[in-house]
Amino acid sequence: MGSHESNPAHQIEVILQSVDSLPTLTPVATRVLNIGSSDRADFGELTRLIEADPALTSRIIGLCRRASLGLGDRITTVKRALVMLGFEAVRAAVLSVSVYDLVSGEAAERDARLEWSVGGEGPGRAFDRVGFWMYSVGVASAAELLAAGNRKLRVKPDEAFVAGLLHGLGKPILDLLLPRAYGRVVELAEKRRADMAPIEREIFGIDHHAAARRIAERWGLPPALRDAVWLYDHPLSGLPEGVAVDVVRVVSVARTLCRELHLGNSGDHGPVDSASAACEAAGLSKKSLDDAMRKLHGAVSEHSKVLGLDEQAAPELLLRSITAANRSLARLSADLEHRAHEGKRVAEVLSAIAEFWRIGGGTGEVVRTLGAMARSAARVLGEGRWGTVLDRGENAWLLCLFDSEGGLARSTEAHRPEQLAGLELATPSAWTERTGVRSALAAWAARELGMDSQNAPMRVVVACEGDGVPGCVMLTTAPAPEEAPDQRHLMPLRATWSAALSAAVHRRATERLADSLADSNRALAAAQAKLTEAQSMARLGEMTAGAAHEMNNPLTVIRGRSQLLAESLTDERDRKTASAIAGAAADLSNLVTALHELGRPGEAEREATPIAEVLGRAIGLVPGASGVVRLDIHGSLPVPLMAEVDGPRLSRAIAELIRNARDWAPEGIVHARVQIEGPDGRLCIRIEDDGPGLSPKAQRHAFDPFFSERPAGRGRGLGLPLAKRLVELHGGSIRLEAGASGGTHAVISLPDWRPAQDREAGQAA
């Protein structure tokens, strides 16, 4: 009686509590159950109790008569029955009648209530109570007969009768408590050709065995009876120890017999063993079974009458069993045919899924996946051209048209049109039922894809569904095949599409994300490098400002003292040595000043300045440069060419380049050219020498402070870094190139150089 996982323990508890709330047995039945079989003193009381209810009395006498065919009409009173049949037989009769009355009485009352509250609109399929009790009486009668025919069993016929009658007690009780849900159980058992117990467990969490056991315990039914209701369905070989095995055996074989004979309606539709096999397995005699089969219909007819169940005579009962058997056969064959069709459709869908993977549905490329979807759709939903509409997010839709082989015929990107505002492809349940929306979508997509929707109706199929799955629908004008699979059959195919398409879409998004991550990493690294440089420059500025003050005082003393010393010395060599000390102190001071300038070059104060003036001043800053620098301001440029620059600072930068050019090519001529270059019209100032050119290493590191390839000497390695800083103050850049005919070209390039009024004039033009 394992509970189903999807049914919380809470539900089981609620059902058991309702079982407990059922009325208890009548006082008569309770009393009968409590009197010990040897307690003759209480027989008088029992007789009085039964006789107080005339209807009960007559039915018990009827049952007792039936149970002792040989005695005929001689049993006319309860007392007589007790004397002639014994206590057990009467007790069995009282139990049978009480329980049956209680359960069917409650059920009738409930039906009246239901009809009242629901207005006659009952559950789709109801538990066949009459048929069930007929079956139960059949099992009871068969059990009684089997027990009578197998005397070696430790079960008396009357005991077997009660056990047979009440073994399925849990079913009417569950039906009583949960009529609608039980109707569903009945329906599913019939549809699935299955027994009721597993379906009960699926729906309620417990089955009728458990419910019946609970009520048997509550009512205080004898242990053998409790075991029968609890275990009648249990395989005989695996019964727990200590149970009344013989009762269970007899009931089990009796059950099989009644189901084989289609006697009544058990509600179970699972496969049935043959009665003779069951009989053999249970170790009952073959003769007793044959005997029981022969007498069964007669016995059922009589017992039914006594219980007030049915008025049918034995031949009619037989006829009814045969009809029921035929009906059952017809149902079975219809069912088989239905299953054959189902199987064919399922096979089609499965082979479509196989084809989907075969033609590239799992490649992770969006359009290829869509093509495979179109091809597999054509296979099961109609051969022809299929269009797909995929929601790529932010209202951007990708539309594709595929030929019947899944080849891409056309694709286009579109934004969700206004007439479809609010339509989310990913939540199809919100719009698929609205035919207006569906046809608007079909018409729009057909137009976008150039599909002819005039001559054939356009079908819209939801391709993907589920959490995190991209919205996608498919369209076609191809006619649907005659036996098209329905939504249920398509579920596996749709799940396949959804999984493959979301994998493809997410893969693409991941790739895009990775690209942009790489981009921003690059930008970040560049920004960090710039920041680090700016920070180290700022720190250099701070440090050198402090250093300048601290160093310049001692340097003053060194320089002044060595100068005084030089003046007082008479020996020429000594005097030169002292002068050299003074010169070195001055150099050291200049170095600190240059470092400070590099760290804190100040702000560019830009104003319109003739570029020729800037170059002229630069040449003036380099000793000995005026003779060797050839100025070449491009002929096509206006004269005088004005640039908005910080004249002194730009001159300083150019001077450093000229100084370097002179150092690299001490004997040569230096060209200083001014040109306008590039599409953005940047101003380029080129300082070109005809020296030996730079090594690759020098080209890479020329702008690093203190880098110099020249042997130790005058070169401080700060000129080019300072030039770079000063040019950058103008928002420009500086680079070194190898000249076409040798030498080194240093190029200052200033994108933003035009004086304000020139820019305005340029815009107005």
Binding site: V557, S568, V592, T593
Partner: protein, 207 residues
């Protein structure tokens, strides 16, 4: 140097005759100017003798464009202000050897103020960074006071910031020299500012 000019240099109170000699005009002119109030002074108590204090005489001479050199004597008083004793020593050595200068040293702005009053320097060599007040403040004070406003000021500093240099010049310094300097250039600038004849007594090369 000539004893005569030294007398004038130390004299505090002048008679009309002495004033006439200093100014190279007649005594009558001096008396006329004194009586007209254009030359300040006082009369000796109990007599009619006119007396002229040194400051009034200088004021008068400047107002009338008469050279005051004769009053000053031949040596120029120079106050060096720097918090570095080595620098002070260097200047004392340098200017002492030169012979044309009388040198005093101060290592704080406060001392500099006191010495400006008592020593009355012709020229102050002023370091910008002092322990108590900055050079530009000293410079402004010197310019504000009547009797020192003609004193020349040369600022020296190890600072490399052009903005600070400009601020110094704005506060009234006559010149700026960056440390570490060429001592010959410093002496050259001093001679220029004081209007001395360059190299007239330059004997500092070891003769």
């Amino acid at each position: 140097m000539a004893g005569e000019t030294n007398t004038w240099a130390d004299k505090k109170i002048f008679t009309t005759g002495e004033a006439a000699e200093v100014c190279k005009v007649s005594q009558q002119t001096i008396i006329r100017c004194f009586d007209a109030g254009r030359l300040g002074g006082f009369r000796v108590p109990g007599s009619k003798f006119r007396r002229i204090p040194r400051e009034e005489l200088i004021k008068f001479m400047r107002a009338n464009g008469i050279p005051t050199e004769v009053l000053e004597g031949s040596t120029r008083r120079v106050l060096v202000v720097d918090d570095d004793p080595d620098i002070l020593e260097l200047f004392e050595d340098l200017l002492g050897r030169d012979g044309r200068f009388e040198v005093r040293a101060a290592s704080t702005g406060y001392d500099a103020g006191l010495l400006t009053e008592s020593f009355r320097p012709h020229l102050i060599i002023l370091d910008y960074m002092l322990p108590d007040i900055n050079g530009n403040v000293v410079c402004e004070r010197v310019r504000q006071m009547a009797h020192t406003q003609h004193t020349k000021v040369i600022c020296v500093s190890g600072v490399v910031n052009q903005a600070e240099v400009e601020e110094l010049l704005r506060s009234g310094a006559d010149d700026f020299i960056k440390k570490p300097f060429d001592i010959r250039e410093v002496v050259g600038r001093m001679v220029d500012l004081l209007g001395m004849q360059s190299g007239a007594t330059d004997n500092g090369t070891g003769h």
